[in-house]
């Protein structure tokens, strides 16, 4: 166990624990705040995995934007602030069985498949090698090159998708449209 292992294991425990609290807590607002903890720990996991840019995008968009949107949704639907019963539906036992089955299956398969595999991000080069394979690097420079050279078409399509989602959200939340047609 290196220091990196320990840090990643701690961050993973925090992420999974906060995720479990998100789906089990009895207070709506606390669920959103535990979501912040889970996403922050995941950003730390990305940093440990040398994916810096993805980590900061995760902090900006998930912790900054998505959780704030969810909190807005909680407030606008007039959710009870205190602990409230009845946040879980009747099929809680079936959901627990399905989730436990999913977890057991996935963990078993992944551990059996990747038991001895070490993360291969820092190649060992002999000192007399002329060219060393590139070290894994998730900095903004490398990712920007990849996005704007190789993946530029999906990137542009994604911007159209965002525009469509924006227009759709505006159309859905405008009040006048549907009622005017009905009358």
């Amino acid at each position: 166990m290196t220091g990196r292992d320990v840090v990643f294991a701690l961050l993973g425990v925090v992420a999974v624990g906060a995720g479990l609290l998100v789906v089990t807590t009895r207070q709506l607002v606390h669920a959103a705040l535990w979501l912040v903890v889970s996403f922050g720990a995941l950003a730390g996991c990305y940093l440990v995995l040398t994916a810096e840019f993805v980590a900061w995008v995760q902090v900006l968009i998930y912790v900054g934007a998505v959780v704030v949107l969810l909190l807005f949704g909680i407030m606008l639907t007039r959710a009870p602030v205190g602990p409230s019963e009845g946040l879980d539906s009747g099929n809680r036992r079936a959901a627990l069985a399905v989730a436990a089955g999913t977890a057991a299956l996935l963990v078993t398969v992944l551990v059996m498949g990747f038991r001895g595999t070490r993360l291969n991000d820092a190649p060992h080069c002999p000192p007399d090698a002329t060219s060393c394979p590139a070290r894994a690097n998730g900095s903004a420079e490398h990712l920007g090159e990849a996005v704007f050279r190789t993946w530029v078409l999906p990137f542009e399509v994604l911007s159209v998708l965002l525009l469509a989602a924006l227009v759709g959200a505006i159309v859905l939340s405008r009040t006048g449209l549907a009622t005017r047609r009905d009358r």
């Binding site: 292992d5 294991a9 993973g12 999974v16 998100v22 789906v23 669920a31 959103a32 889970s38 996403f39 995941l42 996991c45 440990v48 995995l49 040398t50 994916a51 840019f53 993805v54 995008v57 968009i61 998930y62 998505v66 949107l69 969810l70 807005f72 606008l76 639907t77 959710a79 009845g86 946040l87 079936a94 959901a95 627990l96 436990a100 999913t102 996935l106 992944l110 551990v111 595999t117 070490r118 993360l119 991000d121 394979p133 590139a134 894994a136 998730g138 990712l143 990849a146 996005v147 993946w151 999906p154 990137f155 998708l161 989602a165 924006l166 959200a169 859905l172 939340s173 009040t175 009622t179």
Partner: protein
């Protein structure tokens, strides 16, 4: 570091998301659980991108795209949830049964009159 660490973490997060989607009845909590599942997939993508040292950075770029799509999804999802709340005054997913065949008188009529004006103003 073993590759199994991020993979097992992602699998457990995904299972928590599955439990949340199936067990919660508040629509906003269901959206949160969906976000958990998307994040588990992102962790897998980043871990394999770093492990395979992809020269095109396909995994991390796809992670960025997934984050953008998740943001669009949660925006649209919340708009729909707010619309349902404005029309029905309830966002419990197991009480929205007007598309089910049985229990025709279960919830409010979908073509019924919208609620009173002052409430609609207050919701916005």
């Amino acid at each position: 570091m073993h590759l199994a660490f991020p993979l097992v973490t992602a699998a457990l997060l995904f299972s928590a998301g599955v439990y949340g989607v199936l067990a919660r009845r508040n629509a906003i909590l269901v959206l949160m659980a969906v976000e958990l599942m998307l994040n588990a997939v992102n962790l897998n993508l980043v871990a394999f991108d770093v492990h395979l040292r992809d020269r095109l950075h396909g995994g991390q770029v796809l992670t960025l795209f997934t984050i953008v799509i998740a943001a669009a999804e949660v925006g649209l999802g919340l708009a729909i949830v707010l619309l349902v709340f404005r029309n029905r005054r309830v966002i419990d997913v197991d009480r929205l049964r007007s598309l089910a065949e049985s229990e025709p008188s279960g919830s409010s009529d979908p073509s019924g009159p919208p609620p009173a004006e002052p409430e609609r103003e207050a919701v916005q």
